[in-house]
């Protein structure tokens, strides 16, 4: 493994079924992600983007190939070690938010910290700070059902960050959001990137992909194209997602 890579995958595979019903969701992927890099993975529905993300984050185990995370081979980690990795080193942001409906925004955010056995008062303070950071300081006591889609996704991002992970994985983070909410989320990702956070964003929206440092195109489980973008994020986010006319810049 290259010492400079945070994540490195070689011939990574994930298969479902057998014989004629065999599906190769991820088919021989090679990938290197450097610390602080922002990578976007794009492709049509069912091309294996989300499965790849699940493998990278230790939510699922690969069928073959090798995957290193922070210098460790994920395939050799026990379930307990994988859980610890998810708890301390990886933050997930899902398209469907996946918030606990019975917990307030603050309680949702502090949950991973409590699982990491952070002292309750410290977990609470971290959650409060993060909610302030994503602009939801005044919504900390609200249940998810009382929040808009964009607000829910910002809570989910705050939750992903609460244990200060080295890698944030976002699966279609704006898929359920309108343009204004999409802009809010992308601004947060922009701030995270500026602060040196490593981000992998799975999306099928080209405008979101255009904000990344590197854009990977996936098709039928394999990488078909990889583009390093220069200056993509220097353009206005609003312009990128069509809220503003580029002529107006």
């Amino acid at each position: 493994m290259t010492n400079s890579s945070l994540v490195q995958a070689r011939a990574l595979r994930k298969e479902y079924g057998r014989g004629d019903g065999l599906v190769r969701a991820v088919d021989g992927v090679d990938l290197d992600i450097a610390p602080g890099e922002r990578v976007a993975v794009m492709g049509p529905s069912g091309c294996g983007k989300s499965t790849l993300l699940h493998l990278l984050g230790g939510l699922d185990r690969s069928s073959g190939g090798e995957l290193w995370f922070h210098g460790r081979r994920i395939g050799q980690l026990s379930e307990r070690a994988l859980a610890e990795m998810r708890r301390k080193e990886v933050g997930f942001v899902f398209q469907a938010f996946h918030l606990m409906e019975e917990l307030t925004a603050q309680e949702n955010v502090e949950l991973p910290a409590l699982l990491a056995e952070v002292r309750p008062w410290a977990a609470r303070r971290r959650a409060r700070d993060l909610l302030e950071r994503v602009g939801l300081g005044d919504r900390a006591g609200h249940l998810p059902s009382a929040l808009s889609g964009g607000q829910r996704q910002r809570v989910a991002i705050a939750r992903a960050l609460v244990n200060e992970p080295v890698l944030v994985l976002a699966d279609e983070p704006t898929g359920n959001l309108d343009s204004a909410a999409t802009l809010d989320v992308l601004r947060i990702f922009e701030e995270l990137h500026a602060a040196g956070q490593t981000l992998v964003i799975v999306t099928h929206d080209e405008r979101i992909g255009a904000t990344a440092d590197r854009l990977i195109l996936m098709y039928d489980g394999a990488f078909v194209d990889e583009t390093t973008l220069v200056g993509g994020t220097r353009r206005s986010l609003s312009t990128l997602i069509g809220l503003e006319d580029s002529a107006g810049e």
Partner: protein, 614 residues
């Protein structure tokens, strides 16, 4: 009419679609109705056979006894002089006797028991002629043994016994209605045996068996001109009543004997009735959980029914019809099971003629058992059916899960707990009614177990005290022992049924919790909880309410036993019995929840999140 047809058709289709669940529901309701039916069937089991036996044996309307108190000469002419005039008393229409009665010790096959040996002639008696069911009538050196006593001893015609050490042959086995079956319990505390078996010998043999310690006594069987007035007749000659235990003359009306016969099954009946109500409560709990789970699965079906024009009433009707139909089937099956089991518990009826082992399925028994089955099903399914009927069509079609419950204070407190307990408290509070149901289910079960332990302790004390009150502590009281064995058998049966239903409840509740919290569980793992922490959390979510239920069950069990015992003397079981019951229950709960919890905690995270996402 067409609506009813649609309801029945849809209900029938759904039942056929899930036969396993339908069978499970039937078994749960059946367990409760079978116990109830059994309790009801035993009521009066011995009343009808007593009448039959009384008619077949020319049973007396009143029985006079004169058993000398204390020691003296073996013959007791004074007793004879005292009892004989009753044969000529006003309102007496016929009699047999006075018959000599001795009180020897019978031994058979290593057992020794006290008996009341009544001397008889060869000629049939006008009043109280025992009806032979096996062998022949008495002759010199050969005795006839009352059937329930013979059953308890395991003795048959042709066997050899000894009376006061003298060898005798068993000529036959017979039934009679002059004494309560299985011993003459109402003579308890007299100077003679407290609870002897009954045998018949020749008059000469009876007289020869009298001793200085137990002098000869006499009985006189009386027919009255007005049998219904037997109690008043008895009062005229025996103003002290049957409880006056000073020895001498007693007159016992036939109503008293019939009542005593009826009491033989009183304990079993009480145990079964109390047990059946506990089982019914558990059945409601089991059904509520199963029905709740089914309703959650049927959300989309409800939406489809409504989308194609089904009214809320139709939706509720279909759901209720399923459970009511199952209840009727289960009620009928429970009645059959109760009817088939009853003869196994009515062996004391062997002392009487007629269908002692064939309790009657009367209309009230049928109505009550089916009514309880329907009530159980209605209680468990009414609220879920109503909720389904009120669900909006769009929500139902979207299969939207019922939002979980929230308890802000508990959530705040739980942050200070170790991770498994934090997860357990939060999982539990999502469905507070289910937690309450689980806790109540364990409370009911432990109440039943604790009540059984109290009953066992009381029975054990009675059993050890039984022979001790006799003048010869070395004697066995086979009648008493066989009765306590029967009672123990019933207690054990009820306990096993309670434990099985409670186990079903715990398993259902855990599965329901696991199913309901699949998304939360997967999400928690995605956020870093280990499978072990989740397994422990899911188990603890059942164990915490179970602990509360088990502790409440100790108090409940004592209350239940006290209520069922109606103030009779009770003995407290040793503390370690109760501690073992509570710990055993909690270990059983932990064991039953471990497997589903472990499976749930190892479901694939990504797959579950994608499938069960909100």
């Amino acid at each position: 009419m067409s609506r009813l047809f649609v309801i029945l058709r849809l209900a029938g289709r759904d039942l056929r679609h899930r036969p396993g669940e339908a069978v499970m529901l039937v078994v749960i309701i059946m367990a409760a109705t079978a116990a109830l039916a059994l309790g009801l069937l035993l009521q009066g089991t011995t009343a009808h056979p007593y009448q039959t036996t009384r008619e077949a044996t020319s049973g007396p309307d009143a029985l006079a006894t004169d058993f000398p108190a204390g020691t003296g000469a073996p013959a007791s002419p004074a007793a004879l002089r005292q009892i004989a005039p009753l044969a000529r008393a006003q309102d007496v229409d016929g009699h047999s006797g006075p018959l000599p009665v001795a009180f020897p010790v019978l031994t058979f096959n290593g057992h020794a028991d006290a008996v009341l040996a009544e001397g008889r002639g060869n000629a049939p008696a006008a009043v109280d002629q025992p009806e032979l069911t096996e062998g022949s009538w008495v002759h010199v050196g050969a005795v006839v043994i009352e059937r329930s006593f013979a059953d308890a001893l395991g003795v048959h015609a042709g066997d050899r016994i000894t009376l006061n050490g003298r060898p005798f042959r068993v000529a036959g086995v017979a039934v009679a209605a002059a004494f309560p079956v299985n011993g003459v319990g109402f003579l308890e505390g007299s100077s003679q045996w407290p609870n002897p078996g009954l045998i018949w010998t020749t008059t000469a043999d009876a007289e020869s068996l009298a001793t200085r310690q137990y002098p000869l006594g006499y009985v006189l069987n009386l027919k009255l001109t007005n049998p219904a007035d037997a109690e008043n007749f008895a009062d005229r000659f025996d103003p002290g009543g049957y409880t006056n235990n000073t020895g001498g003359l007693y007159v016992i009306p036939w109503q008293m004997i019939s009542h005593q016969d009826g009491l033989l099954m009183a304990h079993e009946q009480k145990i079964l009735l109390v047990g059946s109500w506990l089982l019914a409560l558990l059945a409601v709990g089991s059904l509520a959980i199963v029905v709740g789970g089914r309703m959650a699965e049927q959300n989309r079906r409800v939406g489809l029914l409504k989308a194609v024009g089904g009214t809320p009433a139709l939706v509720a009707g279909v759901l209720l019809a399923e459970y009511l139909a199952l209840a009727v089937i289960a009620g009928a099956a429970g009645l059959v099971a109760g009817r088939l089991t009853a003869p196994l518990l009515t062996s004391p009826g062997a002392g009487l003629l007629g269908a002692a082992g064939a309790p009657q399925l009367t209309l009230p028994v049928i109505a009550l058992a089916i009514g309880v089955a329907l009530a159980v099903a209605t209680l468990a399914s009414y609220v879920p059916a109503l909720r389904a009927a009120r669900t909006s069509t769009v929500d139902a079609l979207a299969d939207a899960a019922r939002p979980p419950g929230r308890h802000a204070r508990l959530t705040a407190y739980s942050t200070r707990l170790p991770v498994p307990l934090l997860l357990a408290s939060r999982l539990a509070v999502r469905r507070p009614r289910r937690v309450l149901l689980g806790s109540l289910s364990i409370a009911v079960t432990v109440s039943g177990i604790v009540a059984v332990l109290f009953a066992h302790a009381t029975l054990a004390i009675s059993q050890s005290a039984g022979p001790a009150v006799t003048t010869n502590p070395g004697l066995a009281d086979v009648g008493f022992i066989s009765q306590t064995a029967r009672e123990n058998q019933v207690l054990l049966t009820i306990t096993i049924m309670l434990i099985v239903l409670a186990a079903v409840n715990v398993t259902f509740i855990t599965w329901a919790t696991v199913q309901d919290s699949r998304h939360a569980t997967a999400l928690t793992r995605a956020l870093g909880a280990t499978a072990g922490q989740l397994t422990a959390g899911l188990s603890a979510a059942q164990l915490l309410p179970a602990t509360v239920g088990a502790l409440a069950g100790i108090a409940g069990g004592y209350g239940l036993f006290t209520a069922a015992n109606q103030g009779a003397s009770a003995s407290q079981p040793p503390a370690w019995w109760l501690i073992t019951a509570v710990l055993g229950t909690l270990i059983a709960v932990a064991g039953l929840t471990a497997v589903p919890a472990r499976l749930a905690a190892r479901l694939p995270i990504a797959e579950t999140l994608q499938a069960d996402g909100p």
